[in-house]
């Protein structure tokens, strides 16, 4: 499916190497995080030089996003591609699958990505 991104900035978003990121997942080692090595799972490694002078402190891997990704990957609620996370949650709710309520509050409240993990990438 066609990507919905409108500008190249989204693709080639320059990321400053974050030095204050202490809240790292224990599963990820900091050394492989910012480079496209075997262990990392990012598609675009950030550049060493920041673009525009602003620090990008919040990256893709915060806890909320991680929880939402776990929700995306859970096959009990069906495929996640092609449907927004909230729609998928509501569908699971209607089907009686009892999806966790925290996901709903996350999706309706915070500034999280509403599209699934694979949006724009598949």
């Amino acid at each position: 499916m066609a990507t919905t991104s409108k500008n190249m900035n989204v693709f080639y978003r320059q990321k400053k190497k974050s030095t204050t990121s202490t809240e790292k997942k224990s599963t990820k080692s900091p050394s492989t995080k910012h480079s496209a090595t075997f262990g990392s799972d990012i598609t675009q490694p950030p550049a060493l030089v920041s673009h525009g002078g602003s620090l990008d402190l919040k990256d893709d891997f915060d806890e909320q996003e991680q929880a939402l990704r776990q929700f995306d990957m859970n096959m009990a609620y069906g495929p996640c591609v092609g449907i927004t996370r909230l729609d998928r949650w509501e569908r699971a709710q209607r089907m009686g699958l009892n999806p966790p309520k925290e996901i709903e509050s996350l999706l309706k409240g915070g500034k999280v990505k509403l599209e699934s993990l694979f949006d724009g990438r598949v």
Partner: protein
Amino acid sequence: MEVDSQEQLQRKQSTYLSLDENFEIQKEVYRGQQYSQIYFARLHMMRTLLYSLVPNWKSHLPVCTVLELEEGKECIIVGTLYKHMKLKPCILDEYSKERSVAPLIKPHNFMHQDDYLVLEDESGRVKLGGTKLSPSVYVTGVVVALHGKETSAGAFFVEDVLEAGLPPQIKRPLKSREDKYVVFVSGLSIGRSSSNPLQFQLLVDHITGHLGDEEEQGLAAEIVHLVIVGNSVEISRGLLNGQNLASKDQSRLSEPFKELDILLTQVFSSHHCDDQHFKIAASLPLDIMPGSSDPANFALPQQPLNRCLFPGSTTYNTFRSCANPHCFELDSIRFLGTSGQNIDDLTKYSEAKDKLDFLERTLRWRHLAPTAPNTLGCYPFTDRDPFLIDSCPDVYFVGNQEKYETCLLKGLEGQLVRLICIPRFCETGVAVVSKSCPGVSSIQIYPSTRVNKGEKEKRNGKEGEVWIDTIEVAFWLHAFLLVPYSVLAYKNKFL
């Protein structure tokens, strides 16, 4: 001229309820989703249902998913069937580097003795072995429960199959005993060079009561509904090849619709002639469904034909343009049917002794079109599968088939369904009339040749002299033209 003042016959009425909301796609928004969503919805609904039926079937066996299968452990698994077909046309064959001489593919059926079935759920898939599950009967997209065990080769040896079976049927309260009739006609194919407009004209004249004497008109007054089941119009291929049309060709494009609209308007307008013979007051409610050759969307569920195509008929509020598949209730008797694409697809990918067998299978699988979206075009719904049959209909019909067939299907819980295959009118001239009695509807088909001269004379004796000539002419016209072409149903009064 002696004017016999016959009182006006009132056409019988029925309460109509349309249940097509499930098939409307106006509210759907396409976000680039794929068909995995509709398969998930189907699997989830059917699996919940099958899990509730498994304890009654074999309660001692554990139920597990495909991934949890262990070698030698007898268990029950539930999933969607996939049939691997050797001869199924694949788009990638066009790009194949080795252009070997393709085997002779029969265009009407793609079965091969090497076809095998695979069961699939979210966790995985497993090839099915054993002789209990015949690949010639099942198609991709059917959800079943299987009892068996995994073999050392990694396949699942099937010992028994559980299908969902007929859905529960709502018991209708027994209403009045009066007989009402519903007429089904399909495949009018107006615009085809071989179609004879006189046939449909004759049918319309008959059901609106323009033909025949008082008794025949009385019968026609008992018809409460007319359903046109798809393929009403056929646009010639030459006009559709994508080139710009000359202005004379553009008028040719709309001719079939104009013809159809004129004919349908006649069904409604009951006062367009001063004919004293004609005495049925109310017009006949009409449902028109789209078919594969009609200008509607290709993928199921086909949306109702646009009202602009029928400028004359849409002024009447008894004209309804409906979706395909179509579900409606008349006097709380449920009718469900399609224009034939689902059964035609089953014919291509499986085999049965007749079309009624396919109809029965779709009811037992509780799914109108199991091959959608695999080989039959379908809208990629995300949250539901609208083709699942929740409640057993009383009359289940399919249009555009080769010949008329019908049978009465009895379910294990006392469900009674009348299965009807409606033939193509342009080829056979057959319309189907269903007696809409509560519970069971029976079809009585009998050719009009039985209206023999002896009967006519007996009736004519009652009328005044002046009527004999006109009735005779009408009858002979009727008999002469209907005999080779049309077969209609009557009650046993004429016999």
